[in-house]
Amino acid sequence: MLEIKNLKAVVENKEILKGLTLSIKPGEIHAIMGPNGSGKSTLSNILSGKKGYEISGEIQFENSNLLDLEIEERAHKGIFLAFQYPIEIPGVNTNNFLKTSLNSIRKARGQKELDAIEFLKLIKEKATQLNFDQKILSRQLNVGFSGGEKKKNEILQMSILDPKLAILDETDSGLDIDALKIVSEGVNKLKNGKNSFLIITHYQRLLNYIKPDYVHVLKDGKIIRTGNFDLAIELEKKGYQSL
């Protein structure tokens, strides 16, 4: 599904990624762990198409060269990024935003756009499934949301948009244990064997709830080790210094 080969990224004359290679197959869950400044967020930004990086290397997503695509075209192809810091947009109703978002993607894929009633039905179903309070949907997008609410909102958006590849950028940061459980249960419910997840995190604790197939350690712009869940446990005990 996703093939990253020798990816290098420079921002303001500083090389952040220094030749990263990663392959994700359909249905797999990959976790990327690493210390601060190792390039984790840069990776998620580049995958979703954020501007401002000088990039070399290759990224193949399904049958397209991802680096040729605009941000929204990548979203249309099924890439979703759950933001580490979801952005506030004052005056924009969360429900409307989600509907606009879903219909933009459906339209780009040549699918019928949902009308208000169909959409409400879908969102009600998803919110119930994820055990989320629907009240946040009638509020302005992320405005005045608590850290937990913002992250839950990201997961709800993810479930509505039903991506092929979901990237979770430090979704666990700033969450208390209850919110962490709800968020990770949400992710587990969305798994269907075809969609893939790339989970970026500092800590092992999220991985206790979302069991990854592979754990990669990103340090200094490169993946320096790959293993299974045991690697995450080892890191938690010994820290990144040991590597």
């Binding site: 941000i71 924009v92 993607i105």
Partner: protein, 478 residues
Amino acid sequence: MREKQIENLKDYKYGFTTDIENIRAPKGLNEDVIKFISNIKKEPKWMLEWRLKAFKRLKNLKEPNWQKPKYPKINYQDLYYYSAPKSASEKPKSLDELDPKLLETYNKLGIPLQEQKRLNGIAVDAVFDSVSVATTFKEKLTKQGIIFCSISEAIQKYPDLVKKYIGSVIPITDHYFATLNSAVFTDGSFVYIPENVKCPMELSTYFRINASETGQFERTLIIADKGSYVSYLEGCTAPMRDENQLHAANVELVALENAEIKYSTVQNWYPGDKDGKGGIYNFVTKRGLCKGKNSKISWTQVETGSAITWKYPSCILQGDNSVGEFYSIAITNNHQKADTGTKMIHIGKNTKSKIISKGISAGFADNTYRGLVDIFPKAEKARNFTQCDSLLMGNKCGAHTIPYIKNRNADSKIEHEATTSKISEDQLYYCQQRGLNSEDAISLIVNGFCKEVLQQLPMEFAVEAQKLVSISLEGSVG
């Protein structure tokens, strides 16, 4: 219709012209032209005298020049002050008699006048250049004693009401453009809501400038008698022309005891082309008088058109406990300029005012909020809340906020908040990651920014206004 022009309408879809035979006053501004206008409208003598008095006064006045947007000197002798479709010179008795070309024009503008196609729940007065060509739902309104007609008709049929109130809010001596309007005004709407009547439908006037080298001097007068309510909306469009055309309107509102007037404007005059050529000079005087106790006047404006918008819809809060509100969205793109805001004059006790202004600048545009809050010594416990937000798109445009506050009563309370922001890269990125293209993302963010004002509009127009907001900013993403 001129096919070629219609093809070029991608940016401003109302830019077509209607080929229609006109009756015009001779070019220029002088007593004879004023007499011509008064005569063709069959006005009573007092009206002509009033106009001539204003004209006499005008000779001693100078055009103001304190505004931020400057413009080349207007040659007032080189304009036509009256232009009307020949077919409308005798106002048709019914719509069946209306020139099909006019019907077609309004259909194209999305304002059907024919009985079967009319907008539900909205009565329309259609003003074409210098005359009102049709007013819908008249009979239905008449049953409740509501008068909704052109000001020309009102001057003939209801002279006492007109005489009593015209110039009572904007005196003929007020300032250059208001005085000019008083001398040469051609048409506009007149509304009277009798005591304790809640007007059952939205009243609206649709102003269309068609003829070239013509100024439009509309005059609107709305009177809400004791305990009554009315919601009124005006819309404006004009053809695309290389010349700048002057629109200098006067709008007067009078709310008596316990009455409420809600006045909404969706202004979409031709803004000029991308290089700033052509477009309307929209120099308008709008003022409302909360004359009686507990009265309320609320202005809502969505200003997206015009080369220059220069206006301050204001409230004189004379009655105790009266309320004035001003909700504004001013969007300037390309080379458009706006200097707009409001004046809230607190005279009575316990008077309250609220100002919410949203200015958006893109391209090379310049947008100024200018407002006055004036609390008189006897306006005990007066309150004002002002919020001015500016949004900048790109780095070649400007936004300015100039609030004047005069407070002569220690008991009063005035709050002012102002923000200036840019659409952040992060907001765009977030929206695009969710599948929206950049144009849609900007439209969503801007509509969110304007929401407080948009939701003040009558529902029928809110959707239209939202679209207009998006269209006005199309192509502004760099």
